[in-house]
Assembly symmetry: C2
Homo-oligomer: 313 residues x 2
Amino acid sequence: MIQKLIANIKKTNAPIVVGLDPMLSYVPEHVQKKAYEEYGETLEGAAEAIWQFNKEIVDKTYDLIPAVKPQSAMYEQFGIPGLMAFKKTVDYCKSKGLVVIGDVKRGDIGSTSAAYAAGHLGKVKVGAQEYAPFDEDFITVNPYLGSDGINPFLDVCREEKKGLFILVKTSNPSSGEFQDQLIDGKPLYELVGEKVAQWGEACMGDSYSYVGAVVGATYPEMGKVLRKVMPKSFILVPGYGAQGGKGKDLVHFFNEDGLGAIVNSSRGIIAAYKQEAYAKFGPENFGDASRAAVEAMVADIEGALETRTADHS
Amino acid sequence: MIQKLIANIKKTNAPIVVGLDPMLSYVPEHVQKKAYEEYGETLEGAAEAIWQFNKEIVDKTYDLIPAVKPQSAMYEQFGIPGLMAFKKTVDYCKSKGLVVIGDVKRGDIGSTSAAYAAGHLGKVKVGAQEYAPFDEDFITVNPYLGSDGINPFLDVCREEKKGLFILVKTSNPSSGEFQDQLIDGKPLYELVGEKVAQWGEACMGDSYSYVGAVVGATYPEMGKVLRKVMPKSFILVPGYGAQGGKGKDLVHFFNEDGLGAIVNSSRGIIAAYKQEAYAKFGPENFGDASRAAVEAMVADIEGALETRTADHS
């Protein structure tokens, strides 16, 4: 899947990922209304609303982007119907040729991690049959439990050619409470980064590993360090746009080959129609607003990367 | 819910929790066979098998135990039907008066943590209606992202009188890779424990907080330290039995009032019929084997606590 991700990035020339994190408050009223007319103001109605919202955004952007990142929590909050919308979204995005990163931030140990890996990336056996329940291409994973927690995921990644993005330095203001603490003069996130590089060595694609890392756009200086610590890991970079990260902050997350990072924007794309810059589209054309926001984001990052190249020459 | 947990512990005189982590390999053949006859060798069939397995164990043990802890991964691995079995298990256990700890180990930031909290502990709004999608009593949470990740859970806990168990020191062999690293001479798990105590102060029941911690039975000396660091937090203790923890290792996790800890056993109880000690029950009577295993576990812990009291007097 790292190969498909790289191929998709090269094809679109857009190292970005659209976060499909559909809060109901992002879904335009006419979409909600239609869903409630059919299913009532129920969990099924909410699930239908977010599914229709996602579908329109994907239909309007899939040719411009390499990947999407549905956020599990936004679906789980609507219970079983919500999770059905998650599954439908994963399947639909894959049918459009997109790489799907399930932002599930799971993490456990032993047979429990193995069960998460089977459910999200691999297959499960029932009698003589095999099923791939959620079948995302990548998932995000939490490293707090150490190698026992990660190894079962690596086993499935090797078998299925799937991938991980392991939390290293998250984009939020309080991420430093634990992640920045110094251990023999080195912050914890760097220690985790070293482990990610090590775990990744056992799961290599052609030039990048199947094992990537999450490092927030809001910490560009740390991104610079971590880029060197994990040279063969793709970095999934949240925090662009709504959380404050800008294109120029992102250049350090990329390698000299122009690869190695994929920048996420969620609200900034999917709720673009609510921003002043895209208000002209109106809620009726929220998908077109998202398309325009994708184009602007790609241009911002491209510009920053070109400036870097110019500085170097 | 901390009040209900304490009341249930006092009523049963059993500070334990049964981990409902139904791997298919634990489910006796006759239960699987029946489920597959009805639903085929499908995800629905697997979900029916684990649900019937759970139900029998709950029916045979609910009067002896205060709480259960279904492990999300074991249900997610069977996709949507698996999650329906999770929900059915939560509801059934609550109908039997048990406290339900959803072992979901979620953790994210801001609105995403809020969505997890709403989905698992709280309510979600759809138009003018409100729903409580999974409605567990407690869930387990991962602290790696810091306060931004925890605060949205605390808000819901205060509103709904629900609770958390935050991972502090996990029971697995490699938990020390990050958790034991020294920060100014103090291990990371202790720093996390101090935060748990602090987060817990804002969510107090009568004598214990709604915010508890996970500390593995396999690390009794660390349990001793953490007991003092978080005096008002209940400690959920995994690692008893199959993972090697024994009753005598557990005494340090309890406070002088005999409360403050709840010891989990999963495989040791739910797959008891596979152990030599309970083989006489046979797979047909797997529920009775689980009941006998619960009784033995309660006696083991009771004995250890009595010995401690005797030593003190």
